[in-house]
Amino acid sequence: MVIALVLVLTLGTLLAVLWRAEGVGGLGRAEWAAIRFTVLQAILSAAASVVLAIPVARALSRRRFRGRSVLITLLGAPFILPVIVAVMGLLAVFGRNGLLNDAISMAGGDRISIYGLGGVVLAHVFFNLPLAVRMILQGWIAIPAERFRLVVSLGASVSAMLERPMLRAVLPGAFMAIFLICLTSFAVALVLGGGPKATTVELAIYQAVRFDFDLGRAALLAAVQFGLSIIAALAAWFITVPEGFGAGLDRVLPRWDGASLWERSCDALAIALAAAFLILPLSMVVIKGMIGLSDLPASVWPAIARSVSVAAVSTALTITAAVLLSMRGGRAVGVASALPLAASSLVVGTGLFVVVQPMFNPGKLALLVTALMNALMALPFALRVIAPAFERVEADYGRLADSIGLKGWARVRISVLPRIRKPLGFAAGLAAALSMGDLGVIALFATSDQQTLPLLMYQLMGSYRTDAASGAALVLLSLSLCAFWIFDRGGRADADA
């Protein structure tokens, strides 16, 4: 059922767009250039995120310090921010007029420009480094402490015996997830890319749908996007499958290695650099937002209410779908954790519109459709957290459950759910926060009296009210983090007292 819904929403909508199109032409030179650039930036972004995440994850896995769990929560913030807010934050630090350039020019150097491929990769690393850190950290945590003790007591190399095999198992999955996310990038690539050199497939789709109304070309480009994702997924599949990334990050193992001064300094440096890289731009969003808070219109309240309800519905949908899919396990999980990432949200939205519009007034369904879309987009992340935890519980307690004849939903409720509270909470927090910050398809469906908070923010930006828009961005950031924190905490309550 769930998998059918995922297929309908991703591939079905593509067919709907195709059905409405008047013929499909070939791809021109411009489209090929866009495809090449899209793949290039996605590979570079994924590689940079993963490579940079390794020292940070290692440092976090073997150090325990005050504020560690707060830091880990905050590190997740860029991932759940609306793109344009994060970009503005980045520019406040790395832009022509940003902190970095101010420092360089004070030191007597020439101002540098981040626009171009470098800027695109920088922004994608900013968004995805936390995700990579979490996935790799999970790999480190999954190595039993006894093995570290054994390797160290035998005088063998921890890196050769334990860490390299673990990384080899985890990295391809992390790389692929981030590659897929960067593949459908749109605003980041264009704003920071510096011009038409940096055109991505998603922009070409936008142009085809919105400007040229060439639905055939849009569908073709969306199919290309799926094709690229399938190739990436297969490649990762052949190298190896990841363990997935999960919660349980507060479980710091006593480690028998990495105690030298050199190693401790390296770890401190890695954590400090990553924290500065991720938190400075966020602080700029907060500072600018404070100034704009007083300019916020009264309509911010209903917008907040709408965004929170959409997030609640979407979270419920995501978690239900993820649990149902985990019950089935197998290939369905693989498909559902990759396919939505590869979908162009504009094509999905347009496809839904084509299907819905002859029957209903699309405006009436705007919030529901938005919740559904957000759930679809959050599903891959929720699945990557929940499915492995589900499998572990089944492996450990499955035979016991079989022996007492516990089956179906009762088995999930009694045996599994209580044991996967932490990953459930983490996944729910992620889904809620992602949904809160997502502009989604609301712009395609909504009438003006149905603004969500991200839509309100865009409208403020679009009518010269930049300060108020920064205020709205701060509200959005706080709401997203709150939602994440509440679910994540809820999942951990009394879990490890």
Binding site: N97, G195, P196, K197, L203, S299, F353, Q357
Partner: protein, 327 residues
């Protein structure tokens, strides 16, 4: 008891009847038009005061997106009027056959002749680079290209002002447009998907100037009391944007739609435009323009390709733009 119930039922019936008699006029427009700060709410109040109808705005992205949505819905659309296309889109819009002539005419205060009887203009403006007054202003594109000034522009493939700039250079330079773009390449900090991002980057100090309208400084002056912004007057002339509305042929309330289009050229609509949409009204209100508008740059020459020319030239012009900037 039974009689009471019958009475209640009767009352309900009368009430529904009353609602059904008030016809609804549905207008598709772009987001900014019907935001809290846009002209929408005030115009809705003004028109409802005289039409005994219910006016409903449906916002659907920007002008190009509004047209896409109408094409997607075809004759099945709920829209009675589409408001907010510009002349770069009207040829394409007319070709769909989804619009009907309204016959509305007025004494327009446009810098150009207006003769289209399907699309009724409601406001207009000149594209221009908006900058701080402290920046030395170039006086034409060549001077800008030769300078070290940094600008941020919008992508013509996803934004109306972006397309406006491409047609501006096309209208001013024709065959030389490609070389102008090539020379401008090192002045362009970046290209954004829409106006909002570009203007945001400019306000953050990422560029010396941004492609916007000659009327943009009026917002800062009138709404924020900030007179530090200006726009650059270019000798080549400035490309115009004329925003129009038209009646959808499949409307079920054609008289009401005509009445709205006629109302659009009167005070009740036009006087709202300057300080909500920050554009020039198509018919200047009797009281004149708001104080502050007299400080704006007035271009010596108004450039505008006919809608047929714009439709025919925009594809090749965008290709030339991309070829020059993708080096």
């Amino acid at each position: 008891m039974k009689t009471t119930l019958t009475h209640v039922a009767g009352l309900c019936f009368v009430a529904t009847g009353a609602i059904a008699e008030t016809s609804t006029l549905t207008i598709y427009t772009y987001d900014g038009f019907n935001s809290e700060w846009g002209p929408g709410p005030q115009i809705e109040a003004n028109f409802e005061a005289e039409c005994a109808c219910d006016l409903e705005f449906v916002a659907a992205g920007d002008g190009a997106a509004v047209l896409s949505r109408l094409k997607l819905e075809g004759a099945n659309t709920d829209a009675d009027i589409v408001l907010g296309l510009d002349t770069n889109l009207t040829a394409d819009a007319a070709a769909t056959g989804l619009f009907a002539a309204s016959g509305v005419t007025a004494a327009y205060d446009l810098p150009i002749e207006w003769s289209d009887d399907t699309f009724v203009p409601f406001d207009w403006g000149y594209f221009a680079f908006v900058a701080g007054k402290d920046v030395e202003a170039p006086t034409n594109f060549r001077e800008l290209a030769a300078s070290d000034l940094k600008i941020v522009i919008q992508d013509p493939r996803s934004s109306t002002p972006g397309l406006g700039l491409v047609l501006w250079i096309e209208a001013a330079y024709g065959d030389e447009a490609g070389s102008i773009w090539a020379d401008l390449a090192d002045n362009i900090v970046t290209v954004t998907p829409g106006w909002s991002e570009a203007y945001g980057l400019f306000l953050e100090g990422e560029a010396d100037a941004v492609l916007s309208y000659t009327t943009s400084p009026a917002y800062h002056l009138i709404a924020e009391g900030d007179d530090s912004k200006t726009s650059w007057a270019f000798e080549e002339g400035h490309y115009m944007q004329v925003e129009v509305a038209a009646k959808v042929a499949s409307t079920d309330v054609p008289e009401l739609a005509d009445a709205f289009l006629a109302f659009m050229t009167t005070e009740g609509f036009q006087s709202v435009i300057p300080t909500t949409n920050w554009m020039y009204p198509a018919v200047t209100p009797a009281v004149g323009l708001p104080e502050g508008f007299e400080t704006l740059v007035t271009p010596s020459t108004a450039l505008l390709l006919s809608s047929e020319d714009a439709a025919a030239k925009s594809g090749p012009a965008i290709d030339a733009w991309r070829a020059a900037l993708a080096q």
